[in-house]
Amino acid sequence: AQSVTQPDIHITVSEGASLELRCNYSYGATPYLFWYVQSPGQGLQLLLKYFSGDTLVQGIKGFEAEFKRSQSSFNLRKPSVHWSDAAEYFCALKILSGNTPLVFGKGTRLSVIA
């Protein structure tokens, strides 16, 4: 069965520092990949998604992610973190066959310090 692993439960970065959140997936083919952000008391907001083509995907709020097939990874990056980026980040995949729900990782909580 397909799965998503986010190895880091909690990350703390300084405001203005760069950020990379890791995501690895397990699936026999190339899935569709997503990053969502969940702020306290809010629903999930889509940051970006990868379906095909260019492996570097640009999203909202200055985020980007790179799909690496050889490493089964889809890491999220941001060059300079803002305090408002503090939130929970979820990586998810959707498999290609049929109409299927998203499979989520357990999330990475990002804290931003001054």
Binding site: Y32, Q42, L44, Q45, L46, F90, L96, N99
Partner: protein, 115 residues
């Protein structure tokens, strides 16, 4: 336009009681999903509706859980005889057409606490 809405935002109930959670999807979205998010966990798929097709119930954890949806409108998730392990945030999402490329839009969730 309006996003996905869910009600109530918070629900506290006693063990053994039934609860009903509501989801209003984005107008025109044919697909609707329910997920559960337990503390410190990712989202777990519960059930999925696509138009008038039979729902995919493969994620429902027990027969105490059920959901209904009339056409492409409101959905209700019912949990009977609630247990403490049912405490979680229940999230609803809708998408315009449930193929591989369509984004799911999430509501703010209902936080359920079973005492």
């Amino acid at each position: 336009g309006a996003g996905v809405s869910q009600s109530p935002s918070n629900k506290v109930t006693e063990k053994g009681k039934d609860v009903e959670l509501r989801c209003d999807p984005i107008s025109g979205h044919t697909a609707l999903y329910w997920y559960r998010q337990r503390l410190g966990q990712g989202l777990e798929f519960l059930i999925y509706f696509q138009g008038n097709s039979a729902p995919d119930k493969s994620g429902l954890p027990s027969d105490r859980f059920s959901a209904e949806r009339t056409g492409e409108s409101v959905s209700t998730l019912t949990i009977q005889r609630t247990q403490q392990e049912d405490s979680a945030v229940y999230l609803c999402a809708s998408s315009p057409l449930a193929d591989h490329t369509d984004t799911q839009y999430f509501g703010p969730g209902t936080r359920l606490t079973v005492l």
